[in-house]
Symmetry: C2
Subunit: 175 residues, 2 copies
Amino acid sequence: MTLASLQSQPGVAAEVPAETTGFVFNHTMLRVKDSAASLDFYTRVLGFRLIDQRDFAEAQFSLYFLALLPAGTVIPEGDDARRVWMAGIPGVLELTHNHGTETQHGPVYHDGNSDPRGFGHICVSVPDIQAACKRFDALDVPYQKRLEDGRMKHLAFIKDPDGYWVEIISNTPIA
Amino acid sequence: MTLASLQSQPGVAAEVPAETTGFVFNHTMLRVKDSAASLDFYTRVLGFRLIDQRDFAEAQFSLYFLALLPAGTVIPEGDDARRVWMAGIPGVLELTHNHGTETQHGPVYHDGNSDPRGFGHICVSVPDIQAACKRFDALDVPYQKRLEDGRMKHLAFIKDPDGYWVEIISNTPIA
């Protein structure tokens, strides 16, 4: 579909409102059972950096903010500067940990892909999807859909420690 | 919390794995009842652009990909070039519309914030949060939490047509 025809689909605004200049789709929030397990998965398996953490001792929850940053990105050291910087970039992942859920047996949260449905997945794009999936195999990452499963051979879905689906696609032209 | 201490939280990998170079947190997928209503909300109220659409007639669903782009961003015209470009940027929102849900009465999807919980919200950051919220008022956008509600006076939550929460925060220092 051409770019021009996309702009005339039912519901699409004729113009980008001037009042939305500077708006940024900053983050997506998911609740997680065990913050250490999730931080391990998102940093060690997928390469996210932990860029902010906020602990609410009285209300018994913590927020973890992560981002997949281009190599060489300089993260501001100071808390205030880092928080303003973080609010201005897209692609932040916020994980909410309600203290104590990590000791419960079995899954605590709903992945959104069985009833009642809603949220579907997050997606990480990679330069070499074959190499990425081989590495996930070597790291024993569980899959929802392997590259070779089904009709769509150019994408995979892995699962994070809570069972949330993480789609893996290529961000380079596939030969 | 200092940047250095964040890197030693339980679970955080000691180093960003070299194999994740070029990984991008590309998108978040939400199912929507009525694509026209959602495209109207995300483009007219929040300033997203529709940058790709994929219709699966046989399987009776369509995918809409939107992004909040910095002013002046040049979107590639050609489908192939646009799709590679789109896969390489963070902050894309994918909306899945299962054909026919728009004729059902009442809500079709679950927002994740009542049992069974999981997904929480997406967040759009804005340069002038007071002006943004005044405009949402003028546009009769429903709120989950107004700026002045509760203890957190520096953030709001509006609701999209399916009831998904959209947090609104400032991406500039608040005076």
